[in-house]
Subunit: 472 residues, 2 copies
């Protein structure tokens, strides 16, 4: 086989990159669990008809076929895949599978059900910077049975703020969470006399991409808005701010437009509560931004997007919102709210912009040298004694000259090399040779000291690989 080349859109990291990603995933998981979210995983596949319920994403789905199977929807394929499912596709997010999991297992779950889920998802989109065909998402969601109190719409972005904030220690830039409320948008648009709410939202969603003038034109062309209505929509979208005064500014605008809407008032009360709570618990992180629309049409309340400060052009690294009717089997409905962190997008930027460094590329804190292949089992015993006390250790691959064994450690960034001592012996001429103690060398400083595998430990900062800000 010739030397293989990467597949565009399917990122893979070298061990250093994976170490960074793993530290991020561990930190996210810890915050999620500290907040009581239970971890679950769902299968990678869903019946194609489920994946295509929202027409918008249909072009992104990867469809599966067993190699020996009759192509596309043969009877055997349907029977194989389970009742009613003609074809399987890879999931393109974790929200649709989670809604299905909730419906399928409702009888076994306790509601409100808080879960986190960290898995890969697949989208057949054309790859570009920060946009992949396979990528890792880390999601949190809460769903209720029949109802879900509003306060979860406040809680979830604050959990995300804490989770992403905990990554600062690793060198991740600060984030800004932009929030809006569908009820505000819908109440305002309807109050203006507009009917095609989804259409207006889709236009507003393009604001950052195509600019205000172009959005005004498509609003008129596609949603039947008058130029005045389009201008009012854009004026609403221009409002943003980190405290409850944004609510007053929306009210002033609505009054000027003669809008009276209960839905708008409900939405403004919710948005105000969110911004006020966030200003107390995560000051400066959460900002109301009335242009945030989110393309997916299942959101019904709060919507969220998140930018990495200084890397806004990367797009949102964490999005979500409140949804009321995504998970329903007709008889029961499970409203929810959730956010999804685009871990691969975040990691790819950290690596590309060299924002983060890792202290070594292997877990080992120590390489135990091997004096001769005949004494390898002695080196193995030293390693086992260190590991038994929680110290990551490997044994040198060959009994090469010590200089070469030190180089083995150095190439991997392993800070310590351990030299086994020798037992007491008798030389060929009969002279007794005293036993020598084990020694351990810090190969960064060159300092070498006697050491006992039953008691020695590296400094805490050297025990495991560190992930740190690159400029730290």
């Amino acid at each position: 086989m010739a030397r293989p080349t990467p597949l565009s859109g399917f990122p893979e990291w070298l061990p250093a990159g994976r170490t960074i990603e793993q530290h991020i995933l561990d930190a996210l998981r810890r915050t999620f669990e500290l907040h009581g979210f239970a971890g679950i995983e769902t299968r990678a596949v869903e019946p194609l008809d489920q994946l295509l319920r929202k027409g918008e994403t249909s072009k992104e789905v990867y469809v599966l076929r067993r190699l020996q199977e009759e192509p596309a929807g043969a009877p055997d394929a349907a029977a194989d895949a389970g009742a009613g499912a003609s074809q399987l596709g890879l999931h393109f997010d974790l929200t649709v599978p989670f809604a299905r999991y909730v419906l399928e297992n409702a009888g076994h779950l306790a509601f409100p059900f808080k879960r986190y889920q960290i898995q890969k998802v697949w989208r057949g989109e054309r790859p570009q910077d920060g946009r992949f065909r396979e990528f890792v998402q880390a999601d949190i969601d809460v769903v209720g049975a029949g109802e879900l109190p509003y306060h979860y719409e406040v809680e979830l972005p604050l959990v995300i703020a804490e989770a992403l904030g905990s990554l600062a220690a690793l060198g991740v830039p600060p984030v800004r969470i932009l929030v809006n409320n569908r009820k505000v948008a819908e109440g305002f648009y309807r109050g203006l006399g507009l009917e095609d709410i989804d259409g207006v939202l889709r236009c507003i969603d393009k604001l950052d991409k195509i600019g205000a003038d172009a959005v005004a034109r498509v609003l008129v062309a596609e949603t039947g808005a008058s130029p005045e209505q389009a201008a009012a929509c854009l004026e609403l979208a221009a409002i943003s701010g980190g405290d409850a005064s944004v609510v007053d500014r929306v009210r002033v605008l609505a009054k000027r437009e003669g809008i009276e809407s209960e839905l708008l008032e409900t939405g403004l009360a919710e948005l105000g509560a969110l911004v006020t709570a966030a200003a107390e618990r995560a000051p400066g992180v959460v900002v109301a931004d009335l242009k945030i629309a989110r393309g997916l049409d299942y959101y019904t309340g709060s919507v969220y997007e998140t930018v990495l400060v200084g890397h806004e052009q990367l797009g949102s690294i964490c999005s979500g919102g409140r949804y009321d009717t995504l998970a329903t089997d007709g008889a029961h409905t499970y409203p929810g709210v959730g956010l999804s962190i685009g871990v691969s997008r975040l990691v790819s930027r950290l690596l590309a912009a060299d924002l983060v460094r890792v202290s070594r590329t292997v877990p080992s804190a120590v390489v135990v040298a091997v004096t001769s292949e005949g004494s390898r089992s002695g080196s193995d015993r030293i390693a086992a004694a260190l590991r038994a006390r929680g110290i990551p250790v490997e044994v040198a691959p060959t009994a090469a000259k010590f200089g070469k064994q030190i180089k083995y450690a150095d190439r991997r960034g392993v800070p310590f090399v351990w030299f086994p001592g020798s037992a007491a012996a008798v030389a060929e001429d009969g002279t007794p040779v005293a036993a020598t103690a084990d020694q351990v060398k810090d190969i960064r400083s060159g300092a070498q000291v006697e050491a006992d595998a039953a008691t020695w430990a590296p400094p805490a900062a050297d025990l495991w690989p560190r992930v740190e800000p690159a400029l730290g």
Copy 2:
């Protein structure tokens, strides 16, 4: 949407099952990292021609197609997927992708390269007990550049023994690792005058399924063996044992058959060294078993299978071996040795046989009660104070009666409920009302005590969910 039903072969766990799986994955990862294995992940897809290099597995591969793409191998699909790749399939193991990763990144890796990899894999096989279409594997491998010392064939099964042994605390039954060496088998068969080594191995591999008589028949029918040669092969396959005496028994048999083979001698020396080292470092766990063949034809030295003691009929839960030519680009070859744990198979058995129990289904050690929705922010502050000290906490979903809030905790197995105190106040009649302290209740014993969120902590055993033997 109607209530969805499970897809056969695509297992999903409820939160309790996932907690068990996560504890197992965490324990495996810890052992792998203590031994210096670096974690990597590879993409889920490989070019189809790479996946089909070994003909045997072709029927298991899932092929991908973008929904909007021209079916099967259209020019655009090829251009999209990367140079030379006409179609993509889901990987069916982690060894083939790892070999590709090594070739692709050889210039950036330090050899010998030790990695672990924990990911899902997919095989379109007919599902049955312990055999899934989507499942999690946890692999360790070491590859060298050009050469790889034999001692890694001893080290890797011992790392696995330690990793699987560490699961005993969770309630996982002990394991037995069965080892053989391809050189022994090949040397013996060639010494007998047999030529179709792969054919003989495939027949011997069926011993447990179809029995010795049937294997003797297919050896004669399919590999051209005489009845006497078949009988000798079966006699070799019947040899097993936990110490180096197995080597002597093979030598006696070989001598009786008039076999003289350097390859056999090399294999016996290796197998003897493995069994001897294992008897010292993992007594009773590693057993030489000369019938272990492994179907895949890329193994060239040691081969391994692992059974769960008392659950042998489940099949191997961890298999692997030494391979010399899997990763080669013509100019360079990277020989390796590795083993793969079938995590889903293991977890499905633990759950089906009720071997393991989990102390609760959510991470939370504490539910902070909410006295009234107006005071929710006070409960949030208590929760934040506890979390800041590493205690997993959630806040009750509603300000229901305390009995209902206690039931909320109880349903999830959360051991503690925290009742916020009240600030000093003045009653309506002007009487001063003294402040009351926070209290925390152990809802298992009913014991309730005053507590301060800045100092209180649950017993260490209650801090996180425990996974334990069900009969413990």
